[in-house]
Structures are given as C-alpha cells and as structure tokens.
Assembly symmetry: C2
Homo-oligomer: 149 residues x 2
Amino acid sequence: MKITPKYFEDFNVGYTFETEPTLISKNEIIDFASKYDPQLFHLDEEKAKKGPFGQLTSSGFMTLGKSFTQIFLTGIFDGTSMGAWGIDELRWTKPVCPGDLLKTKVEVLETKRSSKNPKKGTVRLKHTVTNHNKEVVMTWISNQMLKTK
Amino acid sequence: MKITPKYFEDFNVGYTFETEPTLISKNEIIDFASKYDPQLFHLDEEKAKKGPFGQLTSSGFMTLGKSFTQIFLTGIFDGTSMGAWGIDELRWTKPVCPGDLLKTKVEVLETKRSSKNPKKGTVRLKHTVTNHNKEVVMTWISNQMLKTK
C-alpha cells in the first residue's frame, strides 16, 4: 500500500500502518552474511544444520534492513526522512528462514520536536515483524527524524 | 588481531578488545542501500548533497553489519556463538562517509547464564565504533548468546 509522505506534524501517537510482505531467500541470506554477518548458521546451509538453529537463518541485521526497506517503500518518509538517530530494545524472537514472508507493522509511540532545530522532530516508532505463520520474528523501536512543515 | 575463541565462562565484566579497521567505500554504501535502506542520502551521491547530511552517508544498518563482521573476524566467537537475542540503545552519533576507516571497541558489561538451558549464557557487550579521526560514529549494546563449556 502506498502512503502519502508524512512530515513530523502528520504523525500522531497510536497511528499504525503495515508494509507489503517481502520474501526471504536462501541466496540473499548467504550473500548478505558473506559481507555483514559471516557466522556459519547464516552462511553455510549444511553446517547450519548442526548449528544453534538447526537450519540456515537470516542475519538479524538483514531482517532489519529488509523490514526497513518495506517501510520506506510505502512512501511514508519520501522526502521527509532526515535519518534516524537510534534504535531501542531490538529483539530477535524467532529465527527467520528461507521462504519466510515477512510483514512489518509500525506504531507511533511518541513524537518530539527538536529543541535545537525547529525544522526537525523525532518520531518514536515500534516495529513488529511477523512471518507468514503470524509469528513475531523481530520487534524494535526506532527514533526516526523527520522534517517539520 | 586474532583472539582465541571464547566460551561464556571466559568473559568477565570489564574485559575489552578491539577490532581491525574496516574501510567504508562509496560503491559499498550505494550497493547496500539499494537493497536494505533505499533513502536518497545513502543511494545517490548527487542528491545526497542536498540531503540532511550534505553528502552520501552509509546506512546505519550497514555500519552495524560492517562493525559486527570485524568483531566476528577476530575469531572470538568462532564455534561458540549461538546468535544474539537483541540490541539495546543503538545510537548513530556521526555520519559515516566514503573513505572512513572504522574500528570497534567491545566491552563486557554483564554475563548471565541461561536459567532454562545451562548450555548457554548471554554476554551483554557495549560496542563503540570510531572513525579514523577518533570520532565516535555509533554505539550499541548487544545481548550475545554463547555456548558454555
């Protein structure tokens, strides 16, 4: 679903939106891991079978980037994002595996205009990522900076 | 510097180690952004000049993956890592730009054996990532699971 770009003032506490699903593939898991998280359970299908998850799993960093990309592709931050200054309480609650289809629900927890720069504000967002079995695989809170009007 | 792999019991509060430096390149920033963080200030050198940072900057997710990879390549978690269950208080404190050389210092904050499974424990690690000008560009705390002996 496409969302009209929103400025800081457009976000109200409690507002929610959801992304389109994104597919996690074996090749992408391995390619990402080779550069950004070269642990054997993200990198080698055979060796992963003897690892802590019993199978190949996505790097949590990849799951994070895939989820954020789906959020960004809604268009909600187009031309209004000024980057994020941090993440709080990120939790990887279930392994993410090849063939998983992930969706992200986003909820506004808090909004705060910058005291130093009235041209920007922080929107604190809670993200819940679920797989096709409706299991929560990751949650995190981002501190997203947005332009004011 | 190579570090002998460590099990849960080998980590004591206050122990620190540091990674080798890693170079951030323009091509890698753009390639990563195209898949995991397609904001224009990570994706397009010309448009980034008019963006919030005035130049092309690394996705914070890429900085995270680059930093973790340097940690992993020390060998400290070889065969002992059981993945991580979360991140706390991640802060992006300075933009990361093409040509930056990043190092990560890691400090043990806390260790806790699993109450459910004596074969594993969590080591809570504070990470401080600095550039070649000794500026802190990112900090975060990970909750890393490790095998016990």
